[in-house]
Symmetry: C2
Subunit: 190 residues, 2 copies
């Protein structure tokens, strides 16, 4: 579990006792490619920390799937809108590749916050980071052009072309697949 | 300062010592109608707690102001995307009415988290609430029709018609002012 330890240690000191608590409360879980982490209409019961693999966030609108985010190695995966108030989710999350994640339940996460030294502080700091990232991503749909969204996506996922099918990239950029080809052509000319 | 005390006490016990810390670190501030709480391009240095009044969040796109949120009495006001990483804001916030708020600086908020008993816990819980609310509002732009957004806005602000000019309501609903009149007519027929 070195990866999550390191990630938590970025925010607060993580000693032997803290590692024990974290190892006890998180469980390793495998998600086959295409397997859901969360389905629309269900309550999000877990937060995951991705060790290996890739997850896709999407929502269904007028019968059409709209992809709006990808989470990858060393990132947290959850839908906080459903997880925090424990209400049904409007969004779905699924594995785009065979994925390994350490997952924690709602109750165990609260236990982690209260039992781990600096647990609340860690929770607050991680939440701030996740919050800002989510807001920046959502705002980007308003303020950025599809070109800019594509470039930001490339920055976050330099291995984008290899790992993510074109129609998911197009959906996340907010264009039709044929427009994405034009964007890629334009950008490659610069 | 009873209003913020009560709001904080919803999350964690707030005794005499905590009240002292809160009173010391927050400052009462008046914003005249039209006065900015935060300007695009500036770093958001404060979080405010509104006692009286109303604030409007907006961004400028192609030279046009887009209103996307209103904060009112007993609500926090800040742009966390700018406040948390202390980077320039893409959004502006201004007082829509003469507004009184208790404000706290970035450094003092961190002092509050670390010195107040359960300060980190309070921070985490408030952040969760603010986070979920912000996500729900932003998502509503994707998943809801203008009618639905208008109805949600009415729920959050039952005194909407009296307090908020029609063009700001229209902008926040995502339609032109003339379309808003049609929406209001349709809804009043039900």
């Amino acid at each position: 579990m070195e990866a999550p330890f390191n990630s938590f240690a970025y925010f607060v000191p993580v000693g032997k006792v803290e590692k024990e608590i974290i190892s006890t409360l998180f469980t390793e879980k495998q998600f086959k490619k295409g397997e859901p982490f969360l389905q629309e209409g269900k309550i999000c019961r877990h937060v995951g920390f991705i060790i290996k693999g890739l997850m896709r966030y999407y929502l269904t609108q007028d019968g059409e799937e709209k992809t709006f985010y990808f989470a990858r190695e060393n990132e947290f995966v959850s839908n906080y809108e459903s997880f925090v108030p424990q209400i049904p989710s409007l969004k779905s999350i699924e594995a785009l590749e065979d994925t390994t994640a350490y997952v924690i339940t709602y109750d165990n996460l609260n236990l982690l916050y209260s039992t781990m030294a600096n647990g609340e502080r860690m929770g607050r700091l991680i939440l701030e980071q996740v919050f800002v990232q989510a807001l920046q991503n959502l705002n980007s749909f308003y303020v950025d052009t599809p070109e800019q969204r594509y470039e930001k996506l490339l920055q976050a996922h330099p291995d984008l072309q290899q790992r993510i099918p074109q129609y998911y990239i197009a959906s996340c950029v907010g264009v039709k697949p044929q427009s994405l080809s034009r964007i890629r052509k334009r950008l490659s000319l610069h």
